[in-house]
Symmetry: D2
Subunit: 114 residues, 4 copies
């Protein structure tokens, strides 16, 4: 890959997109899916902002830091929701929460880079 200063953050966002989509589909298969509506909705909103972050960073766009700032906030919210269900034995939520936290961290590191 052409070296980019945003490499790590792009990869974390891409991973987060996949984990959130997978988590949404796995939530739908759970017996108590009615308790997971908010989780699925946040998953899908998180996908949308992570995709925008990847596009902006790979274009080396002027607003990459602003988009990643918002991305970190939404990833944290999605992680927080997923963590509630992670403790109830839902591995997809546990793993999704980890991907979201990692993505939020990568976005914050990217924001603070010179």
């Amino acid at each position: 890959m052409i070296q980019t200063k945003y490499q790590e953050c792009i990869e974390a966002c891409n991973e987060c997109v996949v984990m959130c989509n997978q988590c949404a589909m796995a939530c739908l298969n759970e017996e108590n899916v009615e308790h997971l509506r908010k989780c699925i909705q946040l998953n899908l909103e998180c996908v949308a902002i992570c995709e925008a972050s990847v596009t902006s960073m790979s274009l080396d766009g002027k607003f990459s830091k602003d988009i990643c700032t918002l991305c970190a906030e939404i990833c944290d919210a999605c992680a927080e929701e997923c963590e509630k269900h992670a403790s109830m034995g839902m591995d997809h939520c546990k793993e999704c929460a980890e991907a979201c936290r990692k993505c939020a961290d990568a976005c914050r590191q990217m924001m603070n880079a010179a």
Copy 2:
């Protein structure tokens, strides 16, 4: 369409996506394309955030207002750049600037709605 409180803003964002992509392609065909790099880059970044806004609003997501706040800012920046070229006879930039300003306004109206 199922009535949504975000109808007008969604339509403005969708229009902006199309106009920005069309403007980017039209810029590429201009003789002085080397002066239009920044415009094309902003066009594409504007597309990315408008798409995220549409997704969030159509999901009735928790972060719709935050995403639209950022969307308004990026649309204004894209409009400002396009307006420089609009006065030089580039109709695609003129029309794109109008779509971006309209989208920014719709995003701000949406943010301020109860």
Copy 3:
């Protein structure tokens, strides 16, 4: 808007994106959401291909007809699934099915245009 030969199809795809996202969220709120998993999954896949269609058409891309051909197929599949639930009083599925059929038709008209 700058006149585009794809105007009608772009608008039908954008409408379909919004209706599918709205339908997915409305399905999640239904009591018998466990019967709607396939519907939600198709909704989201339909959104993905409609977005690709809009991008390709607004770029006047070389593969617009190929993407729209596939888009028509996926829209029909989503409509077929939604129609099953439409007859059970789910208005969001009824209206989503209509948007999907309209989008499939617009894609086929676009494919057959000179």
Copy 4:
């Protein structure tokens, strides 16, 4: 990551998205950008179909193979165009062509998997 049968193909598509966006921006900075219009346009269309492929696979959607079939075709077309410029010393086109070919191969492997 939750193990997915599509892991390799998802990663190849994500890599292709980044490389195509980077290539488009690098093309814009070339002196002879007027010869690169077709390349930039294909880059952006390739991004659109790769994003749809990633979404479909991460949703484990019914149409993943169909979308990846089309994705392979568009990636090959983008690679073919980039290869023309790769021989003229444009490293971004060379590296983008490689990412596109790798993505096309991954899509074909995915299509042929049981």
